[in-house]
Symmetry: C2
Subunit: 686 residues, 2 copies
Amino acid sequence: MIRQELINPKSIVVVGASNNVQKPGGKILKNIIDHKYNGQLFVVNPGSDIVQGIKSYPSVDELPDKIDLAILAIASHLCPDAVDTLANKKGVKAFIIISAGFAEESKEGAMLEHRIVDTINSVNGSLIGPNCTGVFNTNYAGIFTTPIPEPNPHGCDFITASGATGVFIVDLCIVRGLPFSSIYSVGNSAQLGVEDILEYMDETFDPLTSSKVKLLYMENVKKPQKLLKHAQSLISKGCKIAAIKSGYSEAGSRAAASHTGAMITADIGVDALFKKAGIVRCYGRDDLVTVASIFMHKELTGKRLAIITHAGGPAVMLTDALSHSNIEIPPLKGEKAQELLSYLFPGSSVNNPIDFLATGTAEQLGIILDYCENEFDDIDGMVVIFGSPGLFPIFDVYNVLHEKMLTCKKPIYPILPCEIEVGEEVKDFISKGHVRFPDEVLFARGLISVFNTPKPQLNITLPEVDKNTIRNIINNSNDGFLPPAMVSQLLDAAGIPRAKEIVVSDIKEIDNALREISYPLVMKVVGPIHKTDVGGVVLNVETKEQLLSEFERLMKIQDAKGVLLQPMLSGLELFIGGKKEGDFGHIVTAGLGGIFVEVLKDIQTALSPITFDEALTMIHNLKGYKLIKGVRGSKGVDENVFANIIQRVSALMTIAPEIAEMDINPLLGNGSNIIAVDVRINIVKH
Amino acid sequence: MIRQELINPKSIVVVGASNNVQKPGGKILKNIIDHKYNGQLFVVNPGSDIVQGIKSYPSVDELPDKIDLAILAIASHLCPDAVDTLANKKGVKAFIIISAGFAEESKEGAMLEHRIVDTINSVNGSLIGPNCTGVFNTNYAGIFTTPIPEPNPHGCDFITASGATGVFIVDLCIVRGLPFSSIYSVGNSAQLGVEDILEYMDETFDPLTSSKVKLLYMENVKKPQKLLKHAQSLISKGCKIAAIKSGYSEAGSRAAASHTGAMITADIGVDALFKKAGIVRCYGRDDLVTVASIFMHKELTGKRLAIITHAGGPAVMLTDALSHSNIEIPPLKGEKAQELLSYLFPGSSVNNPIDFLATGTAEQLGIILDYCENEFDDIDGMVVIFGSPGLFPIFDVYNVLHEKMLTCKKPIYPILPCEIEVGEEVKDFISKGHVRFPDEVLFARGLISVFNTPKPQLNITLPEVDKNTIRNIINNSNDGFLPPAMVSQLLDAAGIPRAKEIVVSDIKEIDNALREISYPLVMKVVGPIHKTDVGGVVLNVETKEQLLSEFERLMKIQDAKGVLLQPMLSGLELFIGGKKEGDFGHIVTAGLGGIFVEVLKDIQTALSPITFDEALTMIHNLKGYKLIKGVRGSKGVDENVFANIIQRVSALMTIAPEIAEMDINPLLGNGSNIIAVDVRINIVKH
């Protein structure tokens, strides 16, 4: 749906442009002119003949045919007719509507918006907006806000669902030195949304010329599968993506809904989707810009950093901040370390942090970086912290940093803590294409989130399951909870080990049942859904006398159709759940039962279909993981078997998308013997 | 030990000053002159007659008598003699030594440092440094680094143990608009350290003229009790204190040790001390400056904020960031809210966040702030987010903000997201005495840590315990673990409920014992410390036959002196511990037993003596708190009784400081019946 006329228009008309550059229509024309658009420019404004030096047409009807792109900055109620004329009479195919007063404001506005979309769809056109700030790329600055960055094809591509938030993020990026390749403000996303722009970037991706860094600001995820597909694809092509999805809390979600009419999307789905896609999730502007700045550096391929500093304090704070992560600051020892030390002033330390003192020189920094690059094999990247107490200029230091950043294969992250006394040096450093990290602790938090975001796995192999049987059972089932026999068949078809069980509906069948399972037993009423609430579960039945008397009692419970007999099992209580979350698909949950889920909410989630590694990661991230490993003599649970069962639940739901919800709780684990004890599966067919 | 000559010197000599302002000695003189010091200035430099326009003496011997303050910027090995002459012959009482090359570098340096301190102590003098950047206050700029803020008596007092870190923090403060009253760089703290400066600020505190905001950067806490006392005292006088104690992780602690020779202090003590003192703990420069900026505003006396914005996105992110805290963004409803809405443009929202749109005006902002101040009783403070898309200047908006910040009784926190297009407006706003918060999410994190730091409680009432009995037992005990009988007596004297127990050392005593306690029983060998490891604990003894045979077995264990009999109790497993952490005193720990402590490290700590509120807060902050409240029908544990027992442990250790360590584990709780089952107390007398 994204046309070249939108991306690289040979001609643009700004409808509603004026000489008043304090208004969006005037400002967007000024920005297009100022940023040296080299196509043809047209203006529609009934009140002037010439606007900002450009001939103005009194109405869209007077315009020449086949202008590539129309930017509308007129009152919302005037837009549908203007779009109609432009699309149907003038052959315009691409539109940016910056005007507000549409779906975000009222029902009437939503109707105007619908009409516009219908018109543009009917000519296979593209629409950005309405209620947006516009589009900026290397071809034109079709955006009414400032500041506008210098376009750089290797800068960031930034897609934002909030125009003002976009401005604030761009402002911070420019201050830090982050370049931009494009900015798309999608506003109400009436036709094209964040996901569609990303799809376009994926489909037109060129490894040589395309930007490798994508930044997203979203308040809802309307097309989760499209986002997942293209984010995974772009990342697999070498891109890096960071995104804010705001409104993740209930209160924030309400705030977002009142602000943009955004739907409330369950954050559990967003989180699972980002993890699966390999998108680094950010929670604020500084956070996003820090992560984007990390993206602009060479890739950190290992987890071992050298911290190089002329000031001890920040290095200590950085070491602290990285201490609860997987990133390591390995001590540097041995001959080479001693050799390096000999180049530094007395009192310096090469333990890592490498502290070359307040008196440390540019030359020493160069030597340290060379040693880290060439001599220390257990170092994967370097962080350099260098500010100034204001005694003399430090251009020489930042120049060494610049040169080594170009030549070293390992990434070098520059923490430049000072603004006031070394403003010129920082400006010069940034002008050479670098980014400034002002704070070591905020840098560490960003680096940890980049490092902890898994790479997407494109080819997911699920365990083999009996697809035909599963489809047969589902096809023959009705909406609602499946009866126990069908649940058992489904589990067997999916290869999920389950407790042996026999349903007895007549007291005469008990003797037969006892030939197959032995005491102690568990008895559960069949029929009622909430068995515990109606006293329908009896544990630890050890004698026939007890078995018979409980059977009679259970069969008297309302809706009782029979009694299920199971051996009484013991082991570590686990659970696996699955739930369909609208267009996100199935979210699989797993964890430890009992207080872990009830008190500690110790639940891990992933978006189905799930790889074995994803299942293992879920298990490893549980707070109670030590119990699975085994504590104090208990042998725990084989995590590979548990992960396999999680994958089998995912496989089952992939083949049976009609499963709206399923719960295996508990699943009892003893070493590699993990057995589903109680399972509920709810079917919803549409 | 801090003399007026250091704080407000009538005369200063800079020993080692030169015309080279790229060196510390030259720069510190320049800074003193540039910042309009109005006392007498002297210089010692053997190579020049005039230095920076000031007469220079060839040596300290030639100086006139009774100069108030000497600043030394000469090689470390020259310092001891110079100090000797100045202190003993010239009557100088206050010293700042900025030279490095002392204890931080070598043993020889440490000896030089010792000699200097001895000399200065012998004349009751004051010493700042060595290895520091100096002192800045409203009287003089005796600091060699820049930037130097404009002195403001109501700005921050900042004490830093790292000169360079201090520079970086000051730089950021100036950029954000934070004013300073004083900066002390204590360097090696050879005589005066962070705690001593804070003591001075406490003892000379004047509610009218003294600064109310203290910022600390520390890499170790040498004098914890002094820090606690004066931080509590200052806060009780209306001050606010924020501090970074870096080196909190093991790796960070090693980094700090190699940087300053700082001792490794257990972070558990630092954390408990900060909580008790009411110090807001910060973890990075941006964090500290954000908290300091919050301190500069009126106090937020309640937890309900209004978020006022012209851009939806940041308000959503801010709402998200506050959502897991105690701070609320209550919806605004009713007549007054509707009235307010009528002043705003169509599409605005007053739900809270109050979004008055990108087109919102300064006048509207004023009206909104007036409503929040005067009409909405359920609002305790306001956050205003206002940047600019660059269309026109926004001086009018920031002026309204400025005026309302002066007149409103509720705090107004300004989030100003833009730097580039509204740089002049931001500069103007800051010049009026305000602070800029650039990022709403970082602001939220700072506000949460301020809000979550408890106020210090100065008068701690501990539960009444039998002091004489406790002292008698302790006085009659030896180093090592106390025998069970003495433990029981101590618990009884401290009012800590314990399981009934009888020690039997002869099989003939068993019948007598059975008259006092009944089956089921627990049997524990007396003598060996690690009873479980030697098979010395038997649970659930139900018959006399079992009792007798186990007795015989237990008495054969090495070191067995008897067997302790207790009733077998059940209940929620809790624990309380106490440990002496050097000069920090006793740290009390409490939590839930079993997997909570073993797997989840769910432990809360506090510095003894502990108030009832502190004990309750410990309980409330446990991850497993829901189990204490009672889940799924279990009645849980009476938290007031648990808190009282925590306090009694604290009281016991306060009276018996010889207790190096004690453990009550488990403590079994059933409702208000909480009973110590297994208790170990280790005595170390010095």
